[in-house]
């Protein structure tokens, strides 16, 4: 993976720092993710992994440094803008729209593909109805892709945790992303569900051509899935490279893997 190979780079984080009051949650972090890659970020609790996702998706502004997505600077842009450029994410603590069904959650994800305006929506003419039908089919298709189409009309709050996580991924895919950020997608899943999720992630990459950025604590998951792994500790990048290389890195073993090695 040539770091200078800008044609293939879809996301680059360049010397980014994030401060919360006196706390430096990220300290001059730099890395690049290539198109079609599965890139994982690991590190102990509080290392700054979620903060990294937040800065990439536009929720936080970096104190210094730049974030480039498809060659354009996105740090400082509104999250909705970044989303519409083709970045989607899930959350460590589910952020589903409660009070809505699974299908409606996915429909909300497809909002940016609307072909009609707000006032035409109020009129609800045949063109609008046609488009709404198509959108619903697409949303159903996404739920099917994740294997949860049977829950389409259930309120999300009533669904089992594993299903909710899949609905959240379907909702993110509905935005039509080029890059998908998943924050601890395997947390709280049993072994079978984790295996299925690995499969799904491969399919998201292979069938949809989506680049994936993962944060995960489950080492079997990370090592089995990732093209490259980046290790974060106290806001700094300790090591980066293929899973085998990272696993063997002495600094990593000391800081992180030493206690939770698989």
């Amino acid at each position: 993976m040539g770091a200078r190979d800008t044609d293939r780079t879809i996301l680059s984080v360049d010397n980014v720092s994030v401060d919360f009051g006196g706390l430096r949650a990220l300290n001059r972090c730099s890395f690049e993710v290539s198109k079609g890659e599965i890139y994982s970020i690991i590190g102990p609790n509080g290392a700054g992994k979620s903060t990294l996702f937040n800065v990439v998706s536009g929720i936080h502004r970096p104190a210094e440094g730049r974030v480039l997505f498809r060659g354009r600077r996105v740090d400082g842009l509104r999250p909705s803008r970044i989303s519409r450029m083709g970045m989607a994410r899930s959350f460590q603590n589910l952020e589903l729209f409660s009070g809505m069904t699974a299908l409606e959650n996915v429909l909300a994800g497809g909002h940016r593909h609307l072909g009609y305006g707000f006032f035409r929506g109020l009129v609800f003419d045949p063109g609008v109805r046609r488009e709404e039908r198509r959108a619903r089919e697409e949303a159903r298709g996404l739920l099917a892709f994740l294997g949860v189409e049977g829950y389409a009309n259930s309120p999300v709050d009533d669904l089992p945790y594993g299903v909710q996580k899949k609905v959240e991924i379907a909702r993110a895919l509905a935005t039509g992303p080029g890059v998908l950020l998943l924050d601890e997608p395997a947390a709280g899943l049993n072994d079978r569900e984790t295996g299925e999720l690995m499969d799904t992630i491969h399919r998201i990459r292979d069938e949809r051509g989506v680049t994936l950025l993962l944060v995960e604590h489950n080492m079997r998951f990370v090592m089995g899935l990732s093209d490259r792994v980046c290790v974060l500790s106290f806001g700094r990048i300790l090591a980066e490279g293929g899973p085998e290389r990272v696993r063997a890195d002495p600094a990593v073993v000391e800081a992180y893997l030493g206690e939770t090695a698989c």
Binding site: R78, L96, F97, E104, A108, H111, R112, L114, F118, G121
Partner: protein
Amino acid sequence: MFWQLVVSGLATGCIYALVALGLTLIYKATEHVNFAQGEMAMVGAFLGYTLYTDLHLPVSMAVAGAVVLSGVVGLVIQFVVIRPAADQPHFNVFIITMGLSIVLRSLAGLVWSHDEFPFPGLFPVRPVTFGPVVVTPLNLGTIAVAVGIMAGLFAFFRYTRHGVAMRAVCERPEAAQLMGVEVRRVFAAVWVLSAAVSGLAGALIAPVLNLSTHMGAVVIPAFAAAILGGWGSFPGAIAGGMALGVIENLAGGYLAGQIKNMVPFLVVLGVLVVRPQGFLGEKEIRKV
């Protein structure tokens, strides 16, 4: 007598429901409490009156025009007054909307004076008889229009993605933003809808109350209705509005006419003691 009181109470209740719906829309999306909701209804009714008397539009067109122009007024208010204060604490915004209600009343007084005007009804007031019940087409028409609009709004929220996106913003604005939803645009759209619905309420009640700048006081029973149904709940606002209209009318009819105006306060007081979350509201469960 009983059924007459129920039907005319229901008609008034539909007006309360529409204004309460306007309050709830804004509250659900932005958590702002808009004290100027009643004045928005009043201005809407005056705009309809102008369309009718000065432009000589038929009543139905004048009412439709009032709804559209109210939406425009809502958009202007959102842009000029609310958006600049969006990051302020909610209490400050509440005070701003109180000021707004005074400003709207004064402006309306300047333009139309503080007199009372007879407002043309969409429907005739001459009573018709259904078996033992004597009702006015005006009451029935008011109920039909209000219920139709409410059903339309529900369909909009359910079957269009703009509606779905609005609900998403109400639930979790931050996550909605990450779906590419422009939250600020949704806030503006919510003010347009809310003002349009209130404008309709104003144009529907004006034939009954006579049009005047004091009509903004309708916000008080609307608040009571929303609290009765469950503050922040759409079905609650509607059911609460209708129930309040009927309760008020029955109390006025059977007890004493003067009690009518006190009913909203008594109802709010009663609800807050017996069932603080309202009848269709959800109990707030604090996660520890």
